[in-house]
Symmetry: C2
Subunit: 315 residues, 2 copies
């Protein structure tokens, strides 16, 4: 695993590399949500990204950055969902094999997408150790390159391209809020914010999976927590290079409960008319919960994904 820390130049390189493949997603505004938050909110619509989540940016950058010989042996990852689908699609576009390790209990919609993109799916137990062991075995068996969901410099740089587009469309921001799971999106965004205007960066983390919050607060890598949240994209433990970057770039973590996430999700569906998943809605949840950081300011929020299981709908 490649754990060097990426730089803003890596984000710029990623933007050029993924431009032919990724969607340039729109930025949406809402008068009624602005009024509710007492702030000017700019929503970057990564749920309209390919595979329905920002994860395609990082996966595509990592796959496109491989030299031809390495690429030919394929790529492998472990992912609760969106990164797996992203890597599957990125590999298909380059014409190389993808192996995706999926924990039991993963979101059915996301699993179906991974299979639809032609990846080889490998099931494992629903814990971090089982994921990593299964991926390591596939690397040993096939020579495939591990593309970690977040603790990878090419992935982090790729995720940063969303914030780059957001700043170029919305103009200068006072604050930038991203969902925070493993830390790929948060770190990529923080690299961009630091280089382009200095917006304060906030990672929005579930109160039921506060490992990054606790790591920053305690000044050590807290890895022993057991996540309990409906934000299925944010259950991973923050990565080691991700934590280092967050400390270096002074990222703050803010927490929201699942109930606050659901309330924010309903607002985004009802007012912004966007189908976003809980792991995306948490960005709005923390903005509404912590007005001391956002009131009266220009705030960018990354709506990170929209892969919800609509079978739960009453129609």
């Amino acid at each position: 695993m490649d754990t060097r820390l990426p730089t803003f130049d890596d984000v710029l390189a990623a933007a050029a590399r993924i431009a032919p493949h990724a969607n340039h997603t729109p930025v949406l505004r809402s008068r009624s949500l602005d009024a509710l938050a007492g702030a000017q909110l700019h929503f970057k619509c990564e749920h309209l990204q390919r595979i329905g989540a920002f994860k395609f940016r990082g996966a595509c950058n990592a796959v496109q950055a491989l030299d031809a010989d390495t690429a030919a042996r394929g790529v492998v990852t472990h992912s609760s969902g969106n990164h797996g689908a992203a890597l599957a699609l990125a590999a298909r576009e380059r014409g190389i094999p993808a192996h995706v390790v999926v924990p039991e209990g993963a979101n059915a919609v996301k699993l179906a997408a991974i299979e639809a993109y032609g990846a080889n799916v490998h099931r494992c137990a629903a814990n971090q150790a089982a994921r990593e062991a299964t991926a390591a075995r596939i690397v040993a068996d096939t020579g495939a390159r591990l593309v970690h969901p977040y603790a990878d410099p090419d992935v982090i740089a790729g995720q940063g391209t969303a914030a780059l587009e957001l700043l170029s469309e919305a103009g200068p921001l006072d604050a930038l809020v991203t969902p925070l799971g493993g830390g790929g999106l948060t770190c990529g965004s923080a690299l961009v914010a630091a280089a382009r205007g200095g917006a304060a960066v906030f990672g929005a983390e579930p109160a039921g999976a506060p490992d990054a919050f606790e790591s920053l607060r305690q000044g050590r890598h807290v890895t022993e927590l057991v996540p309990d949240t409906l934000c299925d994209g944010l259950r991973a433990t923050v990565g080691s290079p991700n934590l280092a970057l967050m400390q270096q770039l002074r990222v703050q973590a803010l927490l929201a409960t699942d109930a606050e996430v659901v309330a924010a999700m309903r607002l985004l569906w009802g007012r912004l008319k966007q189908v976003v998943e809980p792991s995306a809605a948490i960005a709005l949840a923390v903005v509404l919960k912590h007005p001391e950081h956002f009131a009266g300011k220009r705030v960018g929020l990354i709506l990170s994904g929209g892969n919800v299981d609509l079978d739960a709908l009453p129609w």
Copy 2:
């Protein structure tokens, strides 16, 4: 009621008149929906218009077109929902009173919006005659100007501005599909299509409220049908000037059942990640149902509104 037929020049005038007030809504694409339809689909996002529906365009144009003395006496309309909210907001922006006649059983979300925009709400029985009689009484009592939801040249011209923006963003289209209720959006769109490239225009009408379809087929104004559809925005009987314009501009009506509408709505929520109401999803439903008109073509679809009652959601 003003029943002269509007022209394309009226649409251009409306575009200039509403520009300071209305949202320029985005056009979205989806690879997976294109594949499903076997066509290139361009979705004009009028559910992201103010009040959550295209109706604001027509109401705003009608209100802004009034001379000062007429405007001061206020405006009145009867509407199952979105037009009522649209007129309420348009009147509030001009600082004049609005009266909205709402039939019993109207969508609760839309009713709440009408009240939130400060209109005077008048309830009546859920039939066309009761709506029109109640509105006429208010006109007699207050001197307010009736802004009919669709049988009004300023309203038709205003609704046409959505198609104008769609063509300017998407480029030439072979076909343009709009939901068809009273005929305001369909006629406004047909004026634009006729003047700008000649796309074939299709009105998408519920199989349970096929009055325009039957009127075109039988060559007479069919007004005796009783609507039975969950598309609450499409229950009105097509207007007389609207029918005349549709005949003149060779608009075709296509039907879809409620089950087909629900299937299309789920696709739009799941693939395009957009919260649209059934009355909007019907445009995609007819495209999927009638491939003989659309296969291999560049098709514009107007997603007319997104005001769904989310209290039905399981979260």
